[in-house]
Symmetry: C2
Amino acid sequence: MDDDVLRRGKPACHVEFDVATALLVGDSLQSLAFQLLTEHRLSDDPAVQIEMVKILAVACGSRGMAGGQAIDLASVGQALSVPELEYMHIHKTGALIRASVALGARCSNTLAPGQLARLDHYAKCVGLAYQVVDDVLDQESSTATLGKTVGKDAANNKPTYVSALGLARARALAEELREEALAALTELRGGAKRLAELADFIVLRKF
Amino acid sequence: MDDDVLRRGKPACHVEFDVATALLVGDSLQSLAFQLLTEHRLSDDPAVQIEMVKILAVACGSRGMAGGQAIDLASVGQALSVPELEYMHIHKTGALIRASVALGARCSNTLAPGQLARLDHYAKCVGLAYQVVDDVLDQESSTATLGKTVGKDAANNKPTYVSALGLARARALAEELREEALAALTELRGGAKRLAELADFIVLRKF
């Protein structure tokens, strides 16, 4: 799977236990997410709650996270263009980030379709920014600071935003995506402050 | 994972492609199952449809299939008793078989709680019978007849109904479970004929 050994300074699950156990924990947690969507009343309208299950299912599946991971596997040793990298990451990590924002938004009965669309654009930008920053940190940070093993992408011959753009332009892209994410929030009030903080945290983080 | 190489006479997905791809296909199909539960009107009552998602989520998760698989991993090289084997298989393969029957039953608005309980008992018996027959066939069949690699459990040092009971008593147990499954159906009409045929197919199969 992945040669990472540290996450937040601790051994990854597949290192602390074994790969089979880590896979089963992932399977169990994913099922638990679906279960939680059924155990609480998340909307006044049961049809919206069923739609929420669909949002999560699509985001996890072949047209979301699992499909993105398959593209990732197929791209080892390939020199991907920036649009190709974007396509991969929008699926691999972006789909679940977008689904998270979409699910939160569906819990509200007061959001208009235009507001849902802006939240989705925010989530798309944040999801991509997360990956660009990940690639930058993998290149420039130390394992001690990052809390996970650095340099793994280069060692695994994986295409990254840094390999495609260079370090300076990758940093600038992350900043552009943060600004685009924040711009998508300007017409929303209240909770959007926390979403803006989240965008800042993701792009400005050092670990 | 599993050292099987053949399924229905063809190479297993992880052999034809690779383990990572097979895992992603499994993840994708599981997400698709949840998606399908949201894309069709399966009950006049949306609350029942939400309950169906929960039935599948619980059956897949740590208290169902994934948990049973974890018990399976932990039981390699152990001499399990018949109750311990039953506990493992009720989770590992039985949970999804029971969920399948429960989901079909929930599509009907005409079943009383007692009928749902009998269907669940049918599914529990069929799920266990499936595993007992699997162990018997693994011991007594040939790879050509079975269409999958035989003798793998003994080779992998895994506890089976045959290792716990011997071949003759394992065969008798499968037959008892089939009779118990059929008995649970006697008060149901119509579709129960197909469920009876399924129990017969599972226990009487030679492959």
